[in-house]
């Protein structure tokens, strides 16, 4: 187990900057997820930690020791790959045993024939066998040990890849989109399983994914990257409620956050589409964006809403409804969550009002940074009523 810290890390290929001044500390035993859209540099960062690629400058420390001069195998890390990267010509058992064989034997002990006659060979072999058996039991793949990767399903290969990573008790596990080749159902199942595995092992995990749902459900903390930049590092709860950047707010959460163009008057009051909201922030800003998550707004009678629009589509999710409402001055419809009862009463084409919960409204300035905002005490109090 180990703490992994990254200091002022840069990576560029010629002119292109892949990673820009990354500072990140992964605490001992933590499940840290690196999340971001494809091409944001998260996999490169993981490979730099593993030593598979080298940084242009900056430092990687494992347990306080700089490891930049160490080869991948000497960093004592395990890695699980998107394509699983199992050795196709070896059985499952041999695949899992490989990391320990390579580490606990020196070269002449690995020779094909000689190895068997060397003193101590039998004990070494039985030591390896028992470790492989323990891992196989934990992952419930005992019945697959003699097969080759080609004969396994995607989910089984995934488990074997995990087994190969677990077998030698590494300082940390690195996982590079390990679930993205699985079908949707299995992916959701494996989320839970990997999260539980982390609890059981108590080892540091660094997990790379482009799927914000995986990041939200599995992690202790999330590091959100975009365009080679580390935007925010926080717990799932925090990153959802308090995104520091409009790109973070957009990336996290499904369905996506609504972003409405707005302005701030001289008194500091936020207006959207010419309608004042009960939200105050720093005065005199133009071109701000107001972020409202679908669950932080309600549909109401037109005259009672903060803004008005036309209901064009109702998405029935079973347990809830999402109302798509177009607003005259905006290009994209706004998404608002309603409960089942209300959703069933709404009729398409109707003009409705939208009430925005001021407490959860997020204000982003011109450059996309989050600015502080607060609720203005209500002058008139009215309930949201179904249309």
């Amino acid at each position: 187990m180990a703490e992994i810290s990254i200091r002022k890390l840069n990576k560029s290929f010629g002119e292109t900057q892949i990673l820009d001044q990354i500072d990140l500390t992964v605490r001992d035993g933590e499940f840290m997820t690196l999340v971001g859209p494809s091409g944001c540099g998260k996999s490169t960062l993981l490979r730099i930690i593993a030593g598979l690629e080298s940084q242009t400058n900056g430092q990687v420390n494992i347990s306080g020791q700089p490891v930049d001069q160490l080869r991948p195998k000497d960093r004592n890390l395990s890695m699980v790959f998107q394509s699983y990267a199992l050795y196709p010509h070896l059985t499952v058992k041999e695949n899992i045993a490989t990391p320990i064989r390579m580490r606990s034997y020196c070269w002449y002990q690995r020779l094909p024939l000689l190895a068997r006659v060397l003193p101590g060979a039998a004990e070494r072999q039985s030591g390896i066998d028992s470790k492989v058996a323990a891992v196989a039991e934990l992952l419930q793949i005992e019945h697959l040990l003699d097969r080759r990767p080609g004969e396994l399903s995607g989910g089984q290969r995934q488990r074997v890849a995990l087994g190969r990573a677990m077998v030698r008790d590494p300082a940390a596990f690195l996982m590079d989109e390990p679930l993205s080749n699985l079908d949707a159902k299995l992916r959701i199942h494996m989320r839970t399983e990997i999260a539980q595995l982390h609890k059981q092992l108590g080892t540091t995990f660094i997990y790379v994914t482009h799927d914000q749902a995986e990041a939200m459900t599995m992690s202790d903390r999330i590091a959100l990257m975009m365009d080679g930049e580390l935007l925010q590092v926080a717990t799932p709860e925090e990153i959802y409620r308090n995104p520091v950047d409009v790109r973070v707010a957009e990336f996290i959460g499904s369905p996506k956050i609504n972003l409405l163009p707005g302005e701030v008057n001289s008194a500091g009051r936020v207006t959207v589409c010419g309608q004042p909201l009960r939200v105050a922030t720093q005065p005199r800003q133009t071109q701000i964006r107001v972020g409202v998550r679908p669950e932080n707004a309600t549909v109401c009678r037109a005259e009672q809403g903060d803004i008005q629009g036309q209901l064009i589509y109702l998405e029935n999710m079973g347990a809830e409804f999402f109302a798509h409402i177009t607003i005259d001055t905006l290009t994209e419809p706004m998404l608002v969550r309603c409960d089942v009862e209300q959703g069933q009463q709404l009729s398409l084409g109707a003009t409705v009002g939208i009430r925005i919960k001021p407490k959860h409204t997020l204000i982003f300035n011109q450059s996309g940074r989050r600015v502080a905002s607060e609720k203005i005490a209500a002058e008139v109090h009215h309930e949201s009523v179904a249309v």
Partner: protein, 277 residues
Amino acid sequence: MNRQPSLLFRLFRHLVLMSGAMVMLMPFIWMLLTSVKPPDEIFSSELTLWPQHWYFIENYSEALTRIPLMKFLLNGIVVTATIFLCQVSIAVPVAYALAKMRFKGKKTLFAAVLFCLLIPPQAVSIPWYLLMYQFGWLDSYMALIAPFSISVFGIFLMRQFFMTIPNDLIYAARIDGFSELAIIWKVMLPTAMPALVSFGIFSIVAHWNDYFWPLIVLNSPDYYTPPLGLVNFRNDDTGNDYGPLMAAATIVITPLVGAFLLAQKRFIEGITLSGMK
């Protein structure tokens, strides 16, 4: 196309293909028949297909004793096997580097490989001969093997195959603690087995059957490969003795033809590979 062709067409198909097959097989059949006939039946002006007297033992033992045919076959095996081993041990590392490493000059090197693919070996036989002369290797195994130790075709083929192996597999092997040479021989090569087998067949067939180069560099029968030995046998004064000559020809083609008949699919893949060049 799913319906059954008419009986007439089926007969026609077999008739045409069968007569073609007879033409294809005729030299082989005649070779086998002649190799078991006594001289008076071979040199008869009457057409007799089946031998009246079997002269099998006489002809084949003559073929094996008059010339050191076994020695030639052994030479052929030694030379083709060594060439193939050299080609693999030189081509595989560079193919791996070309497919998976980032280094300066890689593009130039690959362009050079593609250029060399265009060179037929006969076109460089004069400089090769001069090189062998300079090194003092004329009339030796070295002369037969050295110029073929590099196979740009092998490099190209293995590189194409390695390109299809995901980088993750190499990364996994590095983290697991394989050295780079172990990655090449223990991870990449076993994964590329199908390509290697095809290349092996291609290389072995090409060099077992090669005549041009051995003809140029060899003088003494000690190093003769089977084709050269066979021609030499024919050129002998006694070479007009067709029975033993055909027996020798049969012996020379048997190893490859036999292997081909056992593993047709692999062989056809391997030989047609040369079409990719």
